[in-house]
Symmetry: C2
Subunit: 429 residues, 2 copies
């Protein structure tokens, strides 16, 4: 665990260290992934089936690539009713919130009579990658699928690997609740390639979203341009800002909720109160003993955790803006007072009664958020990620005449005379 | 030139050919670029200066990397007044239109008492890449800089190579009109690396935008994740949909305005009227003779141009949606009637009096648009590209209690007990 105090002489350097710390083992998988993509683009289903046999130890036929409606329904019946109910509750709340994100077209005429505007339209088809094994989170299926549905995406093709044929029924149930019916039992770079290039069985999509391992991330990076992709997610992270009004036991519970993800997940506490700092550290140790995943959480806390004591709330906010955390909890007396000062954060959790886990599942906001300081330039997943803008321009003879001279002048200075001619040919001069 | 008729037996296959045609020589520059980025990340200014000597034949000192205020002012004085006036006119129109794109925060409380919301904030610092040499377009400086300024970006660092020390004064004048004062005379992958990693002289930025050659594109792809990037632009393209009301001479002028870009630029005419098709082809040949860049335009039209005759406007729109063109001109009698049918296009130009060139310069809409069919999933550049969303979630004890059971159930099904505990520890049960 990093233990920093902003009044220490070496604070600036140690904070830089913390910011620059690598939390993800970088795997050089680019060449292997390029070969997989080329094979799937070339041979389609055949390559997809070969890689699935090799990596997932699962023998498939082209007909067996897709889950049948009966298999999806059967998975739904295998899920306990309480879980199904919770998934529906989460789905409905996520849907209600995302409905409010739908943008409006805007078309207007300016003073010169020029029509200008922006038209929004949904992406027609989206591929949703869902990891298999221990990282299979039904909540993530909802978080990716619901904004796409709200945006009006007509076709969502989901891929989820089933290593050794083991299916996670809750993931299929979540997909079903979200209205997804097209699901393929493939994963890895080969599934990303199938979504991007299409195969005999899987029609290509226009955009691919969803989390995955290093192979999936590399595949998304390589197909970017041919299709759209979402952000490439790194390990999750939480930053808690606490003043003396905070409860150290609650702080510790939130730090540990992040640490239990493992895989480089990071929990940071920034506090103006050294008593809160010490008490929270002690609470982390105490609560660790209560956790089923205590080994993972303890290792993550030890390696990546940080507790930083600062002299003022202004200083805390300044550091938080540099950290640009995926999740930012404001466990302070008056959290809303801080909002105007916060410039970089994926999501903000207000006050003592809003643990991040509420947002992970049922708050209604999206839990797919920018990691690894990318909140400096990126946003969480939302409806806008599944739509695109088309701009609109319209002139009549009068407004064209009003714009023509400047356009012809600029075309001339750029050496593009045909551009200028395409304007002047329309003028009756 | 491709000449297709949708009633031909082999139309489907030939249209697929057209869609799949490669218009960009793919250069394998990834390894060279990776080495350049590593060197700049490691040695900073020293590497930047070495590469500039090697690629731009220009010897610089760290102090000479940045244009001085006097140099920028001097460049402004070297630009003819008519060009300065046209740049200002364009700037003000682009600014006025982009002001209308500014998003609003939205915070509300739902029926359970949960606070939900979206807060927008500008990216703090942006790097703007501007190509040197023949591809130096002052209009592109405006199109990239204005939305950043409108978004509220505090720092814009522009890079523009000056091979052999040759400066394009109009590019500097455009930057100055847009309010850019931080400009460095470097380019290529080394400039992208400097913006992403920072050097002793150039502070790093959070996002990099702007067009460039294959090295610049590869560098942007490689630094993506560390910083944000805009789309990677391919050759420009126009699709003209014309009915019998269109003027073949105007169609031809627009097709040639695109073809004169060279470098794989593509012009396509889709028409319901074979007379318009033939007359437009003849007009292209006639007007080619009038153009200073006739060799480039003729070669581009011959290699990548296409004229497609279709049997109905519905068919034209269906094909246009598959082409997903960067620019779509509707040279038809009632262009607005077609708008609800168009699903994929970067920008739409309405009616006979709206040549694309108006949008390239002074219409007010942005000319940085998705190419190579990426309008299926991407949008033109706008104010939103220089801002990011932070989501907001807030519970009080009552609303937390209303959400708690479902959250704990879902955490349990995902095996994340510490997530559940972070909720239940706050309940007085």
């Amino acid at each position: 665990m990093y233990r920093l105090d902003s009044s220490d002489g070496d604070f600036a350097a140690r904070f830089e260290d913390l910011l620059g710390s690598k939390r993800e083992a970088s795997q050089e998988v680019g060449d292997a992934v390029a070969a997989i993509i080329a094979a799937v683009a070339d041979r389609g289903d055949g390559a997809l089936i070969d890689y699935t046999a090799r990596f997932d130890r699962l023998t498939l036929t082209p007909e067996g690539l897709r889950f049948s409606a009966a298999e999806i329904a059967e998975a739904g019946r295998a899920v306990p009713q309480a879980v199904t109910d919770a998934l529906r509750f989460a789905h409905d709340r996520i849907r209600a919130h995302h409905e409010k994100q739908k943008p409006s077209d805007h078309v207007y005429e300016d003073a010169l009579g020029v029509t200008l505007g922006t038209l929004w339209s949904p992406v027609e088809s989206v591929g949703l990658y869902v990891p298999g094994g221990t990282a299979a989170y039904p909540s993530s299926v909802l978080m990716n699928a619901v904004p796409a549905k709200v945006a009006g995406v007509e076709r969502i093709a989901m891929v989820v690997p089933t290593p050794d044929g083991v299916v996670n029924p809750t993931v299929l149930a979540a997909a079903s609740i979200a209205g997804i019916t097209e699901i393929y039992r493939v994963g890895g770079a080969q599934a990303v390639a199938a979504l991007a290039y299409g195969t005999q069985t899987i029609a290509p999509v226009a955009k691919i979203v969803g989390p995955g391992n290093a192979y999936v991330a590399a595949a998304k990076r390589q197909v970017f341009g041919r299709v759209g992709i979402d952000m490439i997610a790194g390990p999750s992270e939480v930053l808690v800002i606490a003043d003396r009004s905070a409860n150290p036991a609650w702080i510790a519970a939130d730090l540990l909720a992040q640490a239990e993800h493992g895989g480089g997940a990071q929990s940071i506490l920034l506090t103006t109160d050294s008593g809160i700092a010490e008490a929270s550290i002690a609470e982390v140790e105490r609560q660790l003993a209560l956790l089923p995943r205590r080994d993972i959480a303890a290792a993550g806390w030890a390696e990546f955790g940080a507790v930083i004591t600062v002299s003022s709330m202004d200083e805390a906010i300044a550091l938080a803006n540099r950290i640009a955390s995926e999740h930012l909890e404001l466990m302070v007396d008056r959290p809303r007072d801080l909002l105007p000062l916060i410039r970089n954060a994926g999501a903000i959790f207000l006050g003592h009664h809003t643990p991040e886990a509420i947002g992970d599942y049922v708050g209604g906001s999206n839990h797919v958020l920018p990691t690894a300081r990318s909140a400096r330039f990126a946003s969480g997943l939302g409806v806008l990620d599944f739509m695109k803008r088309t701009s609109l321009l319209g002139c009549d003879p009068g407004s064209l005449a009003a714009l023509a001279d400047a356009a012809v002048t600029l075309a001339g200075t750029e050496g593009l005379d045909a551009h200028g001619r395409s304007v002047s040919i329309r003028l009756n001069r």
